[in-house]
Symmetry: C2
Subunit: 222 residues, 2 copies
């Protein structure tokens, strides 16, 4: 019983090579999602009907396999959701970290790069970003791990904003609230952005950067 489980996990990892490769390249580069077909279809179903509104039978029929085939690859429905959400947040986090590292120590350049990277993630990975509304359906332990990742992102951004305030480059009297506002603004992109709309991801990201600079009270904003 223990051996098959380990082997299943190896199967999962080996089916997601593209995503990791794309992340390793550059934070502004987005390749195909590279998700296992089961995860991809689960994501689509969760986004259309929500976690509880999606049946394993629905996911199975989208993939074109039977329900037991789903349980062969993933322990249960909860595992599908938590795998998706964690993969999503880790990707955002990795790219944001890379963007910050590339930008260097200047708070303004750092803040711009971080917000750009987050906004790009929301546009390029909208399907994953939209899943954020389902965190309530995570079991406590899974939610705790997800929230820890999200808090880490928030702290990274807050450190930069506080540094910018200390150096007189940002004027907001409420750095913590401003950071929360910036992140919720970016998250909100997942609700309305359309890839076939008038804005490219890069244009969308630039607008988010400008709006975010205003929110933290950057001197040269607007």
């Amino acid at each position: 019983m223990a051996l098959p489980r380990a082997q299943r996990k190896d199967t999962r990892v080996s089916t997601q090579p593209r995503q990791d490769a794309a992340v390793a390249r550059h934070w502004r580069t987005y390749g195909p999602l590279g998700l296992h077909p089961i995860l991809l279809r689960a994501m689509e179903a969760f986004n259309e009907h929500g976690y509880h509104g999606t049946s394993m039978r629905d996911i199975a029929s989208r993939v074109g396999v039977t329900v037991p085939a789903l349980y062969y690859h993933y322990e249960n429905k909860q595992a599908l959701l938590t795998t998706l959400l964690e993969a999503s947040m880790r990707d955002v986090l990795d790219r944001c970290r890379a963007a910050a590292a590339e930008a260097g120590d200047d708070p303004l350049a750092r803040f711009r790069a971080m917000v750009e990277s987050i906004a790009l993630s929301m546009a390029h990975r909208q399907g994953l970003a939209f899943l954020d509304t389902e965190i309530r359906s995570l079991e406590p332990a899974n939610r705790a791990r997800y929230v820890a990742l999200r808090d880490y992102l928030e702290h990274m951004l807050l450190d930069t904003v506080r540094d910018g305030v200390a150096r007189g480059m940002f004027t907001t009297p409420y750095p913590a609230d401003a950071v929360r506002a910036v992140l919720v603004m970016c998250q909100g992109v997942a609700n309305w952005y359309r890839a076939d709309g008038p804005l490219t991801p890069a244009q969308l990201a630039e607008r988010q950067v400008v709006l975010s600079l205003g929110t933290v009270g950057a001197r040269d904003a607007a």
Copy 2:
């Protein structure tokens, strides 16, 4: 069959007098919710487990009645959600309109009052505001009505921001995106605000006003 339905509707209206009375008083005044116990418990359940994750039996047991009793008062589960969401959005809209009217024609005063009223709604009516995450579970016709109300709020705010830009009081190059950002910032309050936390609703609202002024590039922001 037609007579009982009409009687049910009368019952619903007659059980919600307090809320309307509170709204009529002043946009900064918030009394008790005054929702029918079934709606109140349904709201709590939807917020804890989501629409599809909530069973009618769960709601019935919270109220202390049987499942068929629920169907006596409301047609089905969908009616509970759409009634809650529409009541919530109408209240926000009414208060925002009152705030705008009281503020007069100056775009800055008008924008401040509107954002304050929306933020106050999010803090005082957090349980209703949080339901916004469930709009996906509305049937098309119900969602259309809700979205129309939300769009009206957005247009009210956008008209004010555009007026402010035209008069040189706001400097944002992206009024529509800024308004969307401001509204999503306010909506985000429902996710993290705690009534037993350090901020009163009034303090929370003032912070949201300051952050929002930065987002639209108000001259005297921050």
